[in-house]
Chain length 260, copies 2
DNA sequence: CGGGTGGTTGAATGAAATCAACTATGGTGG
DNA sequence: CCACCATAGTTGATTTCATTCAACCACCCG
């Protein structure tokens, strides 16, 4: 539960979900799934994401107290938002995967109130503030799309609150894994039967507010139910419907359709 | 923990925090605290909030599955967002008090993923979508202000996640009460020494993810510490610093200053 | 080969839930 | 006006779930 800040060598270069061609512009896929973008807007977006940086596993993107920086767009790999409590405990607040925009409008704030770090090796595009403003000025469709992104993010936070507040450990873990699987569908078109989660049980524990020991026991039970497989240092969901049943999962909050 | 949907007669017409003059436009106070608005914008805002409705206690404003409606601006009274789980448990996701805007941009979504209901009798202004768009078109300052509102709302959700995930019952209750007190400061200028919380222990329990019984015990302890007083059907925070110490409260996430 | 990290398991402990009374209060209807 | 009922708060006893503590394993990497 306590954690060290050292940036570890990236021993595992786990790729997301299932490997797909170059996957370089997952975010366009994602945005297209709910509101088709015109070619021009799509091009604008791609163009804005040309400045790419590679990160190792467990590297900070931004830390609490920092001035808000550019908008990040995850191209490959996973990251997470988290906070550390005075006693050293940490709580992971949200996961970010390919196709996710983050901190769309934090520019107006004085400083960050949480940290973001990579969970795997990652390639992440940065869009500077002025460029961002140019984007939204150029296209009302993009404004809508960005709003949608923000709103879904807020909805996921609310769902997390419900989980942490009122679900037991088994439901909690199941619900989180379900959400991650559903989100992978937005950007990963092949094979909806198996989803690999590129993080440790410790990370999972920090996300669901349990101890790693207990998460381990929960996972054992889920494995016995046939919901997932635990291979070495990663877990693979192989039966999403079992998971969904246990969690009582309803994907409405992911808002995969816009108002028609 | 299970709840009934009946709209009770509003026996208690508790007013917020401390009574203040007509309090009719708390939201302007609030927005002004962090980013002074020009007179013209202030007037635009006031004008947009002329359509006001009164609600009784425990009335729904909007329910899960509904089409997103207008933007709500709370003028008097409190409300909350919540979700009900299949087993009947409910989790309160956020509290809303005078000065709060809600659901700024939900217009783009297909349907609501949670409910909102009043916790006390309330007066609430509605701003229709077109009017909202006119507002942001008229003034860039208002856009900024609305973004700020959204960002702070998200930050509060994140803080809630941290609380539910990694704080024990005593810290959790204390942290929530702290947040509510600090938020009251934005809109309630007189007397920062006592804050009355206009909701039952049951409501508090649904917000912090505990049972009413246990919340009761926690409150007893807080009372013994001199942090609050339990009078009849409401509690009054009378020593915020004790509460803040117990919770390890840091108000940075409320972002009461904008980037200068 | 040794050390570090992550995973696994068992046993003891602890925090919060559950169950069950009982009180206080306010509202309602006779 | 009082009897009754519903809701909220309070307290104690018991149970359940998750934590803590303590090993131990497996693996990768230097």
């Amino acid at each position: 539960m306590t954690r060290d800040r050292a940036t570890l060598p990236d021993e595992s270069n786990v790729s997301t979900g299932r490997s797909k061609p170059p996957a370089a512009h997952a975010f366009v896929d994602k945005l297209n799934t709910f509101a088709p973008l015109e070619a021009a807007d799509e091009e604008r977006l791609r163009h804005a994401c040309l400045q790419v940086r590679s990160y190792r596993k467990a590297q900070d993107l931004i830390r609490e107290g920092d001035q808000p920086g550019p908008v990040f767009v995850i191209l490959e790999g996973w990251a997470c938002r988290y906070k550390i409590l005075p006693n050293g405990n940490r709580q992971i607040i949200a996961f970010m995967m390919p196709g996710d925009f983050c901190d769309m409008h934090v520019g107006v704030l004085d400083e960050m109130d949480h940290n973001i770090e990579t969970l795997t090796a990652a390639r992440i595009a940065t869009i500077q503030r002025p460029e961002m403003e140019a984007l939204v000025e150029a296209s009302p469709a993009l404004i809508r799309v960005f709003w949608w992104t923000q709103l879904v993010e807020a909805a996921m936070l609310r769902a997390t609150i419900v989980s942490l507040g009122r679900r037991n450990s088994l439901e909690r873990v199941s619900h989180l894994l379900c959400e991650l699987c559903f989100r992978l569908r937005n950007v990963d078109e092949n094979g909806f039967d198996r989803y690999v989660m590129p993080f440790s049980q410790i990370v999972l524990a920090d996300a669901v507010g349990l101890t790693p020991v207990h998460v381990n026991r929960v996972l054992r039970k889920l494995r016995q139910e046939g919901a997932l497989e635990l291979g070495g240092s990663s877990m693979t969901i192989c039966n999403l419907s079992v998971l969904a049943r246990i969690a009582g999962f309803d994907d409405n909050y992911l808002h995969r359709r816009l108002k028609s």
